[in-house]
């Protein structure tokens, strides 16, 4: 049968049983199989001993008053599920959905609450295709009855876990997708219910606050503030109800969920190249990806390697074992050279990225140090962190008191900070001067293309530049400026020449007992998903030793002094390991 020129199968595609219960990256859908089969299913999962179990809210309640955890249906018995997991030596992580979940019918909301469709910023109904092209429609989380029922659900869940003494971690999961390099949450809503709630929010503001709205942009900022506030309420409700189990909120990039892909998927057309780009954007923002919306037939070739080895094998595993004791061999984590930290202002992230392009620092890093960047948000929880050798890039434009203190803390703890003083408030300029005087720091004034200020304290370094001057440089000047500036930070790393259009990611780990001659092991993954043959070269200093090439697919490597030449055919990929000396 043909519709709009598309050949459609009249038979429902048959999914393998494993794909149904383990649809993607360590996720287990307990409601898709009988509880009698849980044991055999869980024991057959060999990828990892840690398994994420998204909780399907609608599966546990029909009316909202009674929440079933096994008293009516065994398939809702979470105690049994956890016991079975323990028997087969698996560690479960339960996940509560904060906002609509694109992989569940009605977004996971019980049917008695499925009344008001959620809409995106373009006024399209928020819908997503699952792995068999069934349409899941999302409902607004801005409806007060949804909030009340959600609060009741998490409260009952918390009581149940306590009563049954179930020792399990619980995550909050916020679903979303990447569009134009930015993460968009499915919590976002523009529906009639949202508008009504927003009107009440505006009415509750004082007339003085209301008078601040003069333009559509200011109203948008107000809307974003409201969205964040409501999202915060859901989060707080879950956190309070599940306090002793609560591990925090994890954002998930669901491949195939973005609106561009949605239209292609109407025709059952899949674009693994776009999914790969989305995964790499998520790596850069340390957001987990999931292929739960994609059929297993899409997961082939380099895309499958990326999903298996990087998303599941490294990114998710590192998340899962973050807080648990682990005596296994040192494993790889992402290597980050620069962390572009921005203050979370919804709707403004685009301008932060645009500014980095105009400064020329992003094009510079993309040219030589692809796969080693991080974009992160400053949040108040971001207190304790390891100040490694990465550069922390901070823009002076939207600093507040706590972000400013955080920046000084990085420096005092031996971290490296690169501060663009453009737009830095006078208050902070004065504070900086006082800070330098109080700590008797030797401040070095350097003139290189523009005037720079360099402060050093032990390992810590604070380099201040004026971005408003740098943006006026020619592209060549910008390149020379960043090259020179980055060189002064002395980080040792192979440069990749000609890596445009290739997907590249850098990883690192501590050496194992047979590698103690090295300080660190670095691994690069290079993948060519274009339809052309691609070449690139890796230039490295004497501190690096090329150790081995792994999992070569349609690719060749030639070794020369201090250089590796890599040739990748379409769909080619490989890993290369380096030993690093100091």
């Amino acid at each position: 049968m043909k519709y709009l020129g598309v050949k459609l199968d009249l038979t429902t595609p048959v999914l393998k049983d494993d794909d149904i219960v383990f649809p993607a990256e360590n996720w287990f859908f307990y409601w898709k199989t009988s509880s009698a089969l849980w044991k055999s299913k869980l024991s057959s999962f060999h990828w990892s001993h840690r398994i994420v179990v998204p909780l399907y809210w609608a599966y546990h309640t029909d009316s909202g008053d009674n929440i079933d955890f096994g008293s009516l249906r065994q398939e809702t018995n979470l105690l049994k599920l956890c016991q079975v997991a323990e028997e087969v030596e698996k560690e479960l992580i339960l996940a509560v959905m904060i906002g609509p979940a694109p992989f569940l019918p009605n977004g996971g909301v019980p049917s008695f609450l499925a009344k008001d469709y959620s809409k995106n910023e373009m006024d399209f109904m928020q819908c997503f295709f699952d792995s068999s092209y069934q349409l899941n429609k999302m409902y607004s989380f801005f409806s007060p009855p949804v909030f009340r029922a959600f609060t009741n659900f998490v409260l009952k869940l918390g009581e149940y876990l306590k009563k049954e003494r179930i020792n399990v971690d619980v995550w909050g999961i916020e679903s979303g997708f990447f569009e134009d390099g930015l993460f968009k949450s499915t919590f976002f809503d523009n529906s009639r219910v949202f508008e009504e709630s927003f009107s009440r929010f505006v009415r509750a503001k004082t007339s003085q606050e209301r008078s601040k709205i003069h333009s559509p942009e200011e109203e948008d900022a107000f809307r974003n503030e409201f969205r964040e506030e409501i999202r915060g309420l859901y989060l707080k409700a879950a956190e309070d109800a599940l306090s002793s189990h609560w591990e925090g909120l994890f954002r998930y990039n669901l491949l195939g969920a973005d609106s561009r892909q949605f239209f292609g998927r109407i025709y059952q057309n899949e674009d693994p190249l776009a999914y790969t780009k989305s995964i790499f954007s998520a790596f850069q923002q340390n957001i987990l990806s999931s292929s739960v919306l994609l059929s297993s037939t899409v997961k082939e070739g380099p895309f499958k390697i990326i999903l298996d080895k990087l998303v599941q094998g490294i990114h998710l595993e590192n998340y899962l074992k973050e807080d648990s004791y682990d005596d296994s061999l040192p494993s790889f984590v992402f290597q980050r050279f620069i962390d572009f930290i921005h203050f979370k202002t919804p709707g403004k992230e685009f301008f932060f990225h645009q500014n980095l392009y105009e400064l020329g620092i992003l094009p510079f890093f993309y040219t030589y140090y692809q796969g080693s960047l991080l974009f992160s948000e400053f949040t108040l929880e971001r207190e304790e962190e390891e100040y490694d050798k990465r550069i922390h890039f901070i823009s002076g434009q939207n600093l507040n008191d706590s972000f400013f203190s955080f920046m000084l803390k990085i420096f005092l703890n031996g971290g490296r900070v690169l501060l663009d003083k453009t737009g830095l408030d006078r208050k902070f300029q004065k504070k900086l001067q006082v800070f330098f005087l109080e700590n008797e720091l030797d401040i070095e004034q350097i003139s290189f293309q523009t005037s720079l200020l360099n402060a050093q304290l032990g390992e810590g370094r604070l380099l201040i530049f004026d971005g408003s001057e740098v943006v006026r440089f020619s592209d060549q000047q910008k390149h020379a400026f960043w090259q020179r500036l980055i060189e002064t930070f002395d980080f040792l790393h192979p440069k990749i020449i000609g890596g445009d259009d290739l997907n590249i990611i850098w990883l690192k780990r501590f050496p194992r007992s047979n590698e103690l001659q090295y300080e660190e092991i670095r691994r690069v993954f290079i993948c060519n998903q274009t339809s052309y043959k691609k070449k690139c070269s890796l230039k490295f200093s004497k501190n690096f030793v090329a150790l081995k090439v792994l999992d070569e697919i349609h690719s060749t490597v030639q070794v020369a002094q201090g250089e590796l030449s890599v040739e990748l055919m379409p769909s080619g990929s490989l890993f290369i390991d380096f030993g690093v000396f100091s």
Binding site: G5, I266, Y267
Partner: protein, 136 residues
Amino acid sequence: MRHERELVVIYGIKEFLSCRGLFVFGFFDRQGVIDSLDIEEILSVFYSSQQVTELMSYSSFLGPFNSKEELFDFVQEFAREKKYTRCVLLTLDEFNIALEQSADAQGILEFIEGHGVLIQTDNSVDKKGLIRGFFG
């Protein structure tokens, strides 16, 4: 095998940044959404650079167009230039109904086929196509 090249266009009235008018919300074909750069390139064939800037000035939408006829003409020229054999136009309301009433991808395609205004790139408008929603 030659695949039919079909363009689907979603349009409607929208108040956007204080401008109320007729906008195109999205062009898509079986490959997904048509890139805005492609649209800009095509616009430059028919419009002056100033008009192109005006039409492309709203990041998410294309427009505003002065009338439905103007919008349909533009879509037809665009489809011809991009070698589409035909295009189907739906209002945003109609498309949302398609989503509401469909259980799967096939259902959406059936709805589009049955409810959209069909424009052949040889200028013939399919009278069987229905106009609902905003322009009822």
